[in-house]
Amino acid sequence: MIEQYMKYLKEYDGAPVTLMEVCGSHTAAIAKSGIKTVISPKIRLVSGPGCPVCVSPSGYVDQLIHLALEEGATITTFGDLMRIPGSKYTLNEIKGQGGKVEMVYSPMDVIRLAKEHPQTRYVFGAVGFETTIPVYTVLLDAVIAEKLTNLQILTALKCMPPVIDWLCEGGAKIDAFIAPGHVSVITGSDYYIPLAKKYRIPFGITGFQPKELVAGIYGIVRMLEKKEELLAQGEVLVKNFYPSVVTPQGNEKALAKINGYFEPGPAVWRGMGNIPDSGLYLRPEYAAYDAGSRGLDDDRKINQACRCDQVLMGKISSKECPLFARVCSPLSPQGACMVSSEGSCYQNYLNRGN
């Protein structure tokens, strides 16, 4: 089957199509698979705002830095967040200047730290999309159960549909979306139906292995070819090519937990602006666990020529940015897309020879 799909994608000679993935793991998986080198140039794959670290605004990083320098406080966070620039510094740089920052793998490690060091105020930098947010609800459960008073979270949590809506509304030249596999495990594939209907645009939920990518991209291109026919038959343009782990309804238990702790609110996406209802914030009854996450809207570029925003919107490729691979590289990222291994510029930098 896969060989047939590969042959089809290689020989595709229909209308040029642009597929956008909105998941950092897809960005990395597509680069690692080398799939762009074996499909028709008429099928263009672009990376959208799928890396939660990349889209966190500088104001959020500045607040983490502010807390890291506070007497008696320690920031804990995941690896990638260490390197994202605030308005002036990164957490990594602040660590070198006496800021207290600890990298952890699981938020649950912070529970152990907070219990071991009751005199230290711990703040967990909680960044993520629908995939990661359930983990933070487990953390909050533990904080409440253990009656910990020295552990809070500083959130930059975001949801996919509002930003996809924003991209389509803004006239981004995208023909279809490679819908995020991990996010969809939580949200379910039905999550995309309203957007597919509103913009008559196909969504294909896709896995991450090279063969799963081939199957998903093939399925999406076929949907595009038969789009009018499918719409005339009243079909919804959402297909699940990752049925081994994604269901139509998703993980309802996890979704209920998310809604229990968090409520929607406006959120700034780095370089893109404020998108209504695209963020999630702790509900007022849980305010005691929030280290001040609302209103961190400041969004400054460290280099005015940085065009991460247009890269994230699929308007230009990384190579069209004047800084790319010149002053901007993974060792000295000028914009957020170059920071994370899930950022589109980072992956394009590694594969810049292709």
Partner: protein, 334 residues
């Protein structure tokens, strides 16, 4: 007992530490002289190297800083075709270090030195302020037999590249232990003495050897491609990685091609000698999974790429151009 600043004073406490821990474990004729410097026999072409070890945690699944510091230095000597003979070690202990732990580390170091066929002939201990950590510097001396010419610049078009075993074990073991991720991955830290010895005994014409340490396979091979002005082409399907390490990498968003190893090497040999080299490596300790993973091309006749390129054919036939490691290889967020 807990190490204090007194253990670095050069006085009674230092002597006690040397006598009870270092001299007891390393015990050999040269060291036992206890002079200001070691005088050792040997002549010819001498290989010299040094390396510092700062790994955290100092004891990890499958090894410890003691085993690591011997393997790292011995393997660096071996990669030039030298026969390792002597090691020196400098211990920098932070006050608060536990002498029981130190004993275990030194004993592990001594056992690994015996395995690798080297003597620890000189040493030094200092104590600094801190919280119980331990850093080690080792230097190594070896002798290069007549007729052996192995260098990073000797890669030739037509060579095949042999990898001596699975990638990523050491990196995953350290990171797993640092991040408290339970798994059954153990470090591959090992001296490659027997492997290189077999290649020399079988008179395999080895052009280049490199141990695949920090930066991983991709970084090492990209540097080799650049220093020899050739194109290196690898096949991803042929590169051995344990399923547990693949899963670990998947979880953290790491790439086994960029993960460090401490008991793996790459050998470049002419195609006609590939079978001979494979058999020499496979019958040595730590080499049973050796496999050919790629080839070296003249840029003019390579199927793709230009001088200095490292290309990887993916399982779906895509081509990835690999660069050296960028940044520090942090785990990603989701």
């Amino acid at each position: 007992m807990i190490v204090t600043m007194a253990h670095g004073s050069g006085g009674a406490a230092t002597s006690e530490l040397i006598r009870d821990i270092f001299a007891r474990s390393f015990d050999n004729d040269v060291l036992n002289e206890m002079e200001d410097s070691a005088v050792v026999p040997g002549s010819g072409r001498i290989a010299v190297t040094t390396d510092s070890f700062v790994v955290t945690p100092i004891e990890y699944p499958g090894g410890d800083i003691g085993r690591l510091c011997v393997c790292g230095t011995v393997n660096d000597l071996l990669m030039r075709g030298a026969v390792p003979k002597y090691l020196t070690c400098g211990f920098i202990l932070q006050e608060g270090a536990d002498t029981e732990v130190l004993k275990r580390i030194v004993e592990s170091m001594a056992a690994t030195a015996r395995e690798a066929g080297v003597k620890v002939v000189a040493g030094d201990t200092k104590v600094i302020e801190g919280n119980g950590g331990m850093l080690i510097n080792t230097a190594g001396v070896g002798f290069v037999p007549e007729g052996i010419e192995v260098s990073a610049k000797s890669l030739k078009p037509g060579d095949v590249l042999i990898l001596s075993g699975d990638l990523g074990d050491h990196h995953a073991a350290i990171l797993g232990s640092r991040l408290s991720i339970s798994n059954d991955i153990v470090s591959d830290n090992a001296p490659l003495t027997e492997m290189v010895g077999n290649l020399q005994a079988d008179k395999v014409n080895v052009h280049t050897m490199r141990d695949v340490t920090r930066g991983g396979l991709a970084t090492v091979l990209k540097e080799l491609a650049a220093s020899s002005g050739v194109v290196i082409a690898l096949e991803e399907d042929k590169i051995p990685v344990k399923q547990s390490v693949k899963d670990f990498c998947g979880l953290l968003g790491l790439d086994p091609l960029y993960m460090g190893n401490e008991g793996k090497m790459i050998a470049a040999v002419p195609r006609a000698e590939a079978e001979k080299a494979l058999s020499a490596i496979r019958r040595a300790a730590y080499g049973e999974k050796a496999v050919v993973i790629g080839e070296v091309y003249d840029p003019a006749s390579a199927p793709a790429g230009k001088a200095g390129d490292l290309l990887l054919t993916t399982p779906i036939g895509g081509i990835r151009q690999l660069d050296v490691l960028q940044g520090e290889g942090l785990p990603r967020i989701c």
